[in-house]
């Protein structure tokens, strides 16, 4: 597949003007009068997870799941990143994803997002690198399940998809239990990135958090993850476990 296709798609999405021309309520107010109601753009940054993971078999790691956005109610720019720094492997941290997205509200609870992404080392060549185009749907499903579904096409034309879902079960006004799942699939094998064809991996986690404030919640949790098919074979080949459990401690931090 031509590498340019995803890039063009992503570029086209990004090029869509971020602030659509605001229609004026055209009553004849004299020149120089202010608009009676101002439209405010907002900015928001959130480490949904910033945690230290201690797996049973694999290596300990510092893991982040970050997103930030700027914009209005309908049009926004997102910066999203997930990654980890595996401890004691002598390598720098790695972006599993670093994405710049244009996002548009298409339904009450859903944003359509598209843009470009990068996978590879953070400030280093320790990890294999690739760029990709991404299109996704982020929102809240009925029953309040927060969902992020994304389709990626790499610069080599490799197609993969991921689905993340999480749900907050309120135990008290500040204590919550958060089941969380992540599923990755791919259309083709990319050994360099440990990606096999078909179902790659499933992860399920459960975190118990306490909202000290609405924007600061320390938590502890546990997870289970398993790799499947070709992906598992690749992992086995590298001597990595294909199924693991672990515990985490971290914070959810809004800025």
């Amino acid at each position: 597949m031509n590498t340019r296709i995803p890039m063009i798609a992503a570029g086209a999405l990004l090029a869509t003007p971020l602030s659509v021309a605001q229609a004026e309520d055209s009553y004849d107010a004299p020149e120089g009068w202010p608009a009676p109601m101002a439209e405010h753009n907002m900015a928001m940054a959130l480490f949904d997870r910033l945690e230290y993971a201690v797996p049973d078999k694999g290596h300990e790691a510092l893991v982040w799941d970050f997103q930030a956005w700027y914009g209005g109610d309908v049009n926004r720019v997102y910066l999203k990143s997930e990654g980890e720094n595996v401890q004691g492997d002598g390598e720098d941290a790695e972006f599993e994803s670093l994405e710049l997205l244009y996002s548009r509200l298409i339904a009450d609870f859903w944003e359509l997002q598209g843009g470009i992404g990068y996978q590879g080392g953070v400030f280093s060549d320790d990890h294999a690198e690739r760029g990709y185009g991404v299109i996704g749907l982020q929102g809240v499903m009925p029953y309040g399940i927060e969902t992020d579904l994304a389709l990626q096409v790499s610069d080599d034309g490799d197609v993969s998809a991921s689905l993340e879902g999480e749900y907050d079960l309120r135990l008290t006004q500040r204590l919550y239990l958060q089941p969380r799942t992540e599923i990755a699939v791919a259309a083709s094998e990319v050994e360099e990135f440990g990606v096999g064809e078909g179902l790659n991996s499933v992860q399920f986690g459960l975190r118990l958090g306490y909202e000290v404030t609405r924007r600061f919640a320390p938590y502890v949790g546990a997870y289970w993850e398993k790799q499947y098919g070709d992906t598992a074979d690749i992992a086995r080949h590298h001597g990595d476990p294909t199924e693991d459990t672990g515990v985490v401690a971290g914070v959810s931090l809004g800025l």
Binding site: Q22, A23, E24, D25, S26, Y27, D28, A29, P30, G32, W33, P34, A35, P36, M37, A38, E39, H40, M42, M44, D73, L105, D108, F109, V140, M141, P142, Y143, G144, L169, R170, L171, T172, Q173, R174, R214, R215, G254
Partner: protein, 600 residues
Amino acid sequence: MTSSSVSTYGISRRQLLKTGAVLGVGSTALGLQPAWAVSWGQSSIYAKGIEEGPELALAIRRESILVDGKEARPISINGTSPGPMIRLKEGQDAVLRVTNLLDEPTSIHWHGLILPAGQDGVPGVSFAGIEPGETFTYRFPVRQNGTYWYHSHSGLQEQLGHAGPLIIDAAERESFRYDREHVLLLTDWTYEDPMAVFRNLKTAEGYYNFQERTIADFFADVREKGFAATSEMRGMWAKMRMSSRDIADVTGSTYTYLVNGHSPGENWTALFKAGERIRLRVINGSAMSYFDVRIPGLKMTVVAADGQPVQPVPVDEFRIAVAETYDVLVAPEDDTAYTIFAEAMDRSGYARATLASREGMEAELPERRKIADRGMEAMGAHDMEAMDHSEMEGMDHSDDMEGMDHSDMDMEGMDHSKMEGMGDFGDREPGDGDDEAGMLAPGEAQPGSRYDQAGIGIDPDGRRILVYRDLKAFAPWPDRRSPGRELELRLTGNMERYMWSFDGKKFSEVTGPIHFEKDERLRLILVNETMMEHPIHLHGMWMELENGQGELIPRKHTLNVKPGERVSALITADAEGSWAFHCHLLYHMDAGMFRVVKVS
């Protein structure tokens, strides 16, 4: 003026002079002394001082003043926050000079006053606003009387205490008598920056709600009502991605609720002598908070709503929407103290004052009530497609309803009449049927209205709660024409994004004003498709609320529209010019629930 009014005025006049003397010293020499630490505030008709018309000057500043004993930076008007009471007299030509000593533009809107469009004080609609350092002189003839208020219409300034009472004495004898009067201005104060509050609402749904349903509520309901009914109800709410505890967007978790600028702990005291009949002018000058007002031990007689006289309604409690005013009479017989208790609608806090025969007395605080869960009346309108038809039918079924009533909700308020109302609503498609066949007669209540209910979380429990149906004018209003047309507006929103709008369009998205033909008589129909209450305010013209009282429907400047409700009002479009029309919840307005009405 009647003899009784004169005597009333006499009392307040003496107090006024005393007040003036103290204020003269107080605002200059005492400087940092908070106004409510001065005892004059306790016996004067209004604690924050009085500015008497027809000519007066107001200076707007941002300054350090203590609120509830803590350092705060409110906006002050002539040195107090909330501002002084403005007293005008019907028939005067008011000349109000407003000087802006802020470092940003400001404005004052005279809420509920019928005046020329250029004097209405909405930047961008009636005038350019008042720039820093500038003085704007408002001039208008005072052609009405009653209890009103004033506030900034610039940005979020109202949240900073930029508001005050506006009382207009009647030129002719009023329909009721009283010996003494007190103003009770209810406000909600936050030490947070209002823009930070807005951002929290925009970026984190439920940010201020610390009364969400928890797993414990679920199990309590299961124990009480059974698993099936509980899970069915919770399932419906979850499916809609809504919270049945979403009653107030901004709550007591950040707000300190104030009476005349005083916190519950400071307990502002209004004095009386036993046997007197006292007029309480209650104004909800809050940014976001509805209150339920009661005085345990005293019956209140409602005699005016939104400044306009109504036939007396004796009540034990009344709900006051944001921006509404009610005048009530009370007649305490004993030399004792009574608590004036204004509980926030979501029960997350309260404002409190004391009515006492001497300073320092106080009465017990009533027991706090628990937050209610919204019921199906809120769901009904919001998201029909979220519920399939069979569920809807289940809802209309009175057996099921009864199950719901007792099972899930602490909603004694959800009585049988409400269910019937809902049935009606469910049957009715917007804009269908009888409208085509012919409009309802003037004054008749719209199907889907719930004027016989006070709203969420009030349990009458044998007590008398004021409802819109009770409001009845003394005589028909001057324009007795039938409406020439109907204009239907839907109140819409997206809670997740905190977007609020009319007909699904925020102010920034609409392409023109709502047009009223000069001198036409029209019916405005408001259909609330959200699950929040909205106090809808039309500037410049009265809205005659069609609450089923025929020719004697009351007229109001602010209409509370409950979730799922369909409310109508008759309007005579006699006020030429451009006027603001909006939800008076400050952050709803700022989020886009605002339109311009142009009369031409």
